[in-house]
């Protein structure tokens, strides 16, 4: 059974339909990349899977670990192991990363029927996971994302992913706003977290990130549908030729 299977998913914001019948299967152990021009539904797809109430699902289903998750609140989906790495991580003044993660880790543990981590256990876990993204203690004590640089925000996303150890991670343009060093750190963080029992979806515009995080499949999301799926070489082809040829291919196929 697939870890995630999306069937004929339609979703809209207000009156505007953005997803127009997405189909996608993801198995444990796989890395998928979703590419495509701006404004064609990549972030919407990520938001719908995570449970953002901004979007209305009008048709179709999202089956995760055998359960239809569309009726689950966002926090329950997270407790079930779904993680969204935000394209624009939100600043939360007054909440430190440490306090935020402690609350999140313990609420997830509570959901799974586990006792909360003690202060020392939590700090130990945090020390260990900070290394994944080379995060400094100074940063961890600051308010969540407040005044962070683009790179720090994305590092913080991957740090949270490391802390929460999700089964399905969706990384929405994690490479945007990153310099070469930060890109390397973030990508190597993602690779360190890769295991046979989890899966990652990388939404990106650029082939560059995929040099570091090598996908098993590359999908092209265009006008609300996945119109092409291929091996990692597809990303290289897109980098060289752009999206025009796909549009042409689609039109000639019609």
């Amino acid at each position: 059974m697939a870890l995630l299977s999306i069937r004929n998913l339609h979703a809209s914001i207000g009156e505007r339909e953005i997803l127009k019948g997405v189909n996608l299967e993801i198995n444990a152990g796989e890395v998928h990349s979703i590419m495509g021009p701006n404004g064609n539904g990549k972030s919407t797809l990520a938001g719908v899977i995570a449970g953002n109430s901004k979007y209305t699902v009008t048709e179709g289903e999202v089956i995760y670990k055998g359960k239809n998750i569309l009726d689950m609140p966002v926090d329950v989906r997270a407790c079930e192991g779904i993680f969204l790495g935000f394209q624009y991580p939100v600043e939360i003044p007054g909440v430190s990363i440490t306090n935020f993660m402690r609350t999140a880790v313990n609420e997830q543990r509570k959901y799974r029927g586990l006792d909360p981590l003690s202060g020392s256990e939590f700090l130990k876990l945090m020390e260990e996971k900070k290394k994944v993204v080379e995060m400094t203690t100074k940063l961890a004590n600051r308010s969540v994302n407040e005044g962070f640089s683009g790179g720090e925000k994305k590092k913080n996303e991957i740090f949270q992913m490391a802390m929460l150890d999700p089964t399905l991670a969706i990384l929405d343009e994690t490479d945007s706003g990153l310099d070469i060093d930060a890109l390397r750190i973030v990508a190597s963080g993602v690779n360190k977290l890769r295991r046979p029992d989890n899966a990652t979806v990388v939404i990106t515009h650029y082939q560059r990130l995929l040099d570091y995080i090598v996908p098993d499949f590359v999908h092209v999301l265009y006008e609300g549908r996945i119109v092409k799926t291929g091996p990692k070489e597809l990303a290289l082809e897109l980098e060289q030729k752009g999206y025009e040829w796909i549009k042409e291919e689609l039109e000639s196929g019609k």
Partner: protein, 427 residues
Amino acid sequence: MEKIVKDFRDLQPRLRKNEVWRNVDFSALLTDELRLPQGERQTAEYRCNIPNLDALRLVVENGLCHEGLTVDSQGIVYGSLRDISGKRADFVRQYFGLCTPQQNPYLQLNTENYTDGLFIYVPDGVQVERPVQLQSVVNAGHGLFLQVRNLVVVGRNSRVTLIHCDDSYDNAPAFANNVTEMHVGRDAYVQYYKMQNLNNQTGLLNHTYALMDTGSALRSVAVTLNGGHIRNHTEIRMMGEHCDVQAHGLFLNDQEQQVDNYIFVDHAYPNCHSRELFKGILDDSARGTFNGHVLVRDGAVKTEAYQSNNNILLTDKAIINTKPFLEIYNDDVKCSHGSTIGQLDEQALFYIRSRGVSERTAQTLLLYAFCDEVLQQIEFEPLRDTLVDMVKKRLHGELTLCADCALHCGTPCNGPEVNFYIDPAKL
């Protein structure tokens, strides 16, 4: 009804026409039950439950101060204002009533009729090591109308931290028209923290008038946790160059409570800075007012003045009237003002919840974070830690008037417990 209560009540309709006193109506709390204090004293020892607080604790109980004139080893003079006014009339006269160039009728009523209060004098060049705690305690077992007068004089180059607590110890109604005058000497630094945890039957008009000499700094944070109707009426005048004012406030009110913050800051000289940050959360049918006025006079060049008021209303019935106001008479200034009224940030809620945090916990986290910005302005750590804890309890609905009032008398009162419970259904 006591004549003076009636006098106070009758001042209100006329004054409400004045912008400064708009929306100020204490009538519901000015009842026949209120009596003038007769020197009621309780045997209870007024302790303080702030851990690690080593303070000089001075109590004004039911309008009277029983501290005799004391001069300590650093030369600090303190005690009952009445007592010291009697013994050292000329000395007190140099300061009394001088922080209040603009008279108002409520102030006048206090000046003419105050029962007692504290006098604190810090001589020049003294760094007061221990904070001084002024405890205004209401605990008579029956209704009281109080007028307390405090006078604080801080000499040149001195530093002092003042903690001013207004606490109810019983559930009897009370009304207090209290005045604190403060002289901040040249290059002096005063930290002034107000904590208010009064019962729902109590009204408080809390006047603070500060007069600041050249190069002095004042940091004030007022935290209103509970009270029937509290108005903090603050007027700060900078009387020389290079003064710095940080005046902040936090209020958390629910039920039918009312909370008003009026603050006037007078920039009369060049190169002075002021910053105001007032934040509040109102639940149920609570009402609040922020009325801030910064006056930058002609000639007060290089002034920097910032004024900000942010509010969260949890219900449709809660009301906040907010009016940040800058009045500027020269061009060479940096000033800003703004206010917001809103609910919790939806994006932030989604972000927190997307990490597996329940909606309820995410809301509490954000409400606390909202308050934290003001609490972090408290430089004195033991007090900050205690208030952080109390605000968290207030938000969790765990703060009860008696068990957690700042000064712990240990005698349970029989009234209803105060609960400020964030019900997600309200949002």
